[in-house]
């Protein structure tokens, strides 16, 4: 029971008063900004990265994990009380949750979301405890060619396989890869795509890109079509507590949601949308109250919300064990590790077990804090929704500017922030996904260096990519995942042609 020993060790790290405080600050910030419409967990981590530059690495990583989990809780509150979910993973929750709130059952909807998130988050964190050491054992034998192939899989699944349009997703990814080329090539020391601008030699800051795309881009987009949005906040009426019938109808969806969410999140497949919608349709099929679906069925909140949280925890598995981010928030967490010169992966488990296991153990604590913060205090968070939109976005941009200029005090950096903001606006307007850009920027240079390392070990023989069975299999999966959406599209077009 090595995992338990490591976890116990991690718990000892996590309960140190300073780390408890970091976890608390993290869940507090995470919930607060998760509730605010327009700010997701990825943006929160991006805004706070430069600010925490001088803090202790273990503490700030614990805080980021708290923000990640807290953002998930807060997002569900917004989805239930305003029918505009901040992120696609909350879409399913909004379907039934907002109907429940309109019918005066907002309290039980928020409660089943919070308790379901807690149950699923705890199950998924147990999953991390068992899965992570096992994956680390495997990953320790990976060669650079295997890592490269794994990143190819992640590139394809994140951008092409599960989006609306593979062409648009891949376009986003390649924009990210292009931005990743900027700067000094680490192996030969030559500048690429810097156009003689010295500020570009260090490459493009992930935080500047993320803050520009998410904060400035979102502000531009919402402002430009503000009159079309009339957001109404449903007041929480009636009892906050779930009745016996609510409990009876909720516990199975929680467990099923966790079982959907964790494995899909842990696979390098990206996105929590799939498990949440799988959970929604499953609950819809299994329910004893089919007449309530579409009008506010509690199962339709309990299941997807659990799936959402479990998959968020699941994405930490490839992030910690392989250094592979599969969501925008995970990409920001990776940037957080890199800020301290730490590279997640099997080596980090060997070199800094205190840090990794302290982080994993703190997830349990963060989850417990979130349950307490969200159940009795939900009324407090709802007040945040009353901040007028002009001031909310004004404040977001002030912090965006501050984070950017604190990370790199130069006007070029602020100009890039504005340029990325315009890019984010255009991408939203023309429906290009944002996450693949961030993942392309952060993972592109890593994939390149793994490939070049593999090829220099093999003295330039490209067949090395196919000689390792693992890398050959992964590259085949990447090819299939790349071609599949086009083939499926062609098939459905063929079928629809006759009419």
């Amino acid at each position: 029971m090595d995992a338990f020993a490591s976890l116990a060790h991690g718990l000892a790290v996590a309960v140190q008063p300073a780390n408890l405080m970091f976890a608390f600050v993290g869940v507090l910030l995470g919930t607060a900004v998760g509730v605010l419409p327009g700010i997701g967990p990825a943006l929160t981590v991006a805004l706070l990265l430069p600010v925490t530059f001088k803090l202790d690495p273990a503490g700030s990583l614990i805080m980021f994990a708290g923000i990640y989990y807290g953002g998930m809780y807060g997002g569900s509150t917004t989805a239930i009380l305003i029918n505009t979910p901040g992120e696609s993973a909350s879409l399913a929750t909004a379907l039934e949750g907002n109907k429940m709130a309109k019918a005066g059952r907002g309290g039980p909807a928020l409660a089943t979301a919070a308790i379901g998130s807690f149950v699923a988050g705890t199950i998924a964190t147990v999953g991390i405890v068992f899965l992570a050491p096992w994956l680390v054992e495997i990953a320790i034998r990976f060669g650079p060619e295997d890592y490269f192939a794994l990143m190819c899989v992640a590139f394809v699944t994140v951008s092409a396989t599960f989006g609306d349009s593979p062409v648009r997703g891949l376009t986003s990814l390649f924009i990210g890869l292009t931005l990743g080329l900027v700067g000094i090539d680490s192996l030969t020391g030559q500048a690429r795509l810097t156009f003689g601008v010295p500020e570009l030699l260090d490459g493009i800051e992930v935080t500047t890109l993320a803050v520009g795309l998410f904060a400035v881009g979102e502000a531009l987009y919402v402002a430009s079509r503000r009159d079309k949005y009339a957001e109404t906040v449903e007041p929480v009426r009636g009892s906050l507590w779930m009745t016996k019938a609510d409990w009876r109808r909720s516990w199975k969806p929680w467990l099923r949601g966790a079982l959907f969410g964790f494995p899909i999140g842990a696979l390098p497949a990206g996105g929590a949308e799939i498990p949440t919608f799988l959970s929604y349709s499953t609950e819809r099929r299994l329910t004893k109250h089919p007449e309530e679906f579409g009008k506010g069925a509690i199962e339709g909140v309990a299941g997807p919300e659990a799936a959402n949280n479990a998959s968020a925890a699941g994405t930490l598995v490839p992030l910690l064990t392989l250094g592979l981010p599969t969501s925008a928030t995970a990409a920001m967490m990776l940037a957080g590790f890199q800020q301290y010169g730490l590279n997640p992966g099997p080596l980090l488990f060997a070199e800094r077990p205190d840090l990794v296991w302290g982080l994993i153990a703190s997830l349990f604590i963060a989850n417990m804090m979130l349950l307490i913060l969200n159940l009795p205090l939900v009324g407090l968070w709802v007040r945040l929704l009353a901040i007028p939109q002009p001031w909310l976005y004004g404040g977001i941009l002030v912090f965006a500017a501050m984070g950017t200029i604190a990370a790199n005090p130069s006007l070029i950096e602020l100009t890039m922030l504005a340029v990325f903001g315009v890019m984010g606006f255009l991408m939203r307007r023309f429906d290009y996904p944002i996450a693949p850009v961030v993942i392309g920027l952060i993972l592109g240079p890593i994939a390149e260096s793994q490939l070049r390392r593999a090829l220099s070990i093999s003295l330039g023989d490209t067949l090395v990519l196919l000689r390792s069975p693992l890398s050959a299999t992964l590259l085949a999966i990447a090819c299939i995942a790349l071609v599949a959406p086009f083939v499926l599209r062609g098939l459905s077009r063929l079928k629809s042609l006759p009419d």
Partner: protein, 157 residues
């Protein structure tokens, strides 16, 4: 909402395809300036070649999509709101560039953004932005020792 069979060419989509192709061209041109190549394996040019080729392919894909009218239906936008936010960012850059400091610059950004979202009371928003920027400055520059741009106001604190 959208017409999948409406085969109308989309000018914005064609512009996107052209931009992608231009980016591919810039990468290809930039690559020719690299001098050193590695002895073994792939050098610093390999990744730019892959990315440029991918962008060129995607430019073609986006062009086909645009010609077939495959872009999502778009709503009318309010250009004034966009101008105001971008104006706020320009003001931020200008004030910091001329040494006006963090507080004045972000107060302006706050008020301009609020006006983009339909607020009419610019002076009140400027005051709110000023207080917010002041608190943020005291908290982050003084407490967490971040280096924020200095100006006449910051020098007094």
């Amino acid at each position: 909402m959208d017409q999948p069979h409406g085969h109308r060419a989309d000018a914005a989509g064609i512009a996107i395809a052209a931009l992608l192709l231009a980016a591919a061209g810039v990468i290809a041109w930039d690559m020719t300036t690299l001098q050193i190549t590695s002895v073994y394996g792939v050098g610093p040019k390999a990744m730019p070649i892959v990315v440029a080729a991918g962008l060129a392919l995607l430019a073609a894909g986006n062009l086909i999509m645009a010609l077939q009218g495959g872009l999502p239906a778009r709503e009318e936008i309010d250009p004034k709101a966009i101008q105001r936010i971008l104006g706020g960012l320009a003001a931020l850059i200008a004030v910091i560039g001329f040494g006006g400091g963090f507080i004045i610059a972000t107060a302006l950004l706050f008020a301009m953004t609020a006006s983009a979202f339909g607020r009419k009371a610019f002076h009140i928003d400027l005051a709110i932005g000023f207080v917010l920027a002041l608190v943020a400055y005291l908290l982050f520059a003084k407490l967490l020792a971040l280096s924020l741009p200095m100006g006449p106001l910051e020098a007094l604190l």
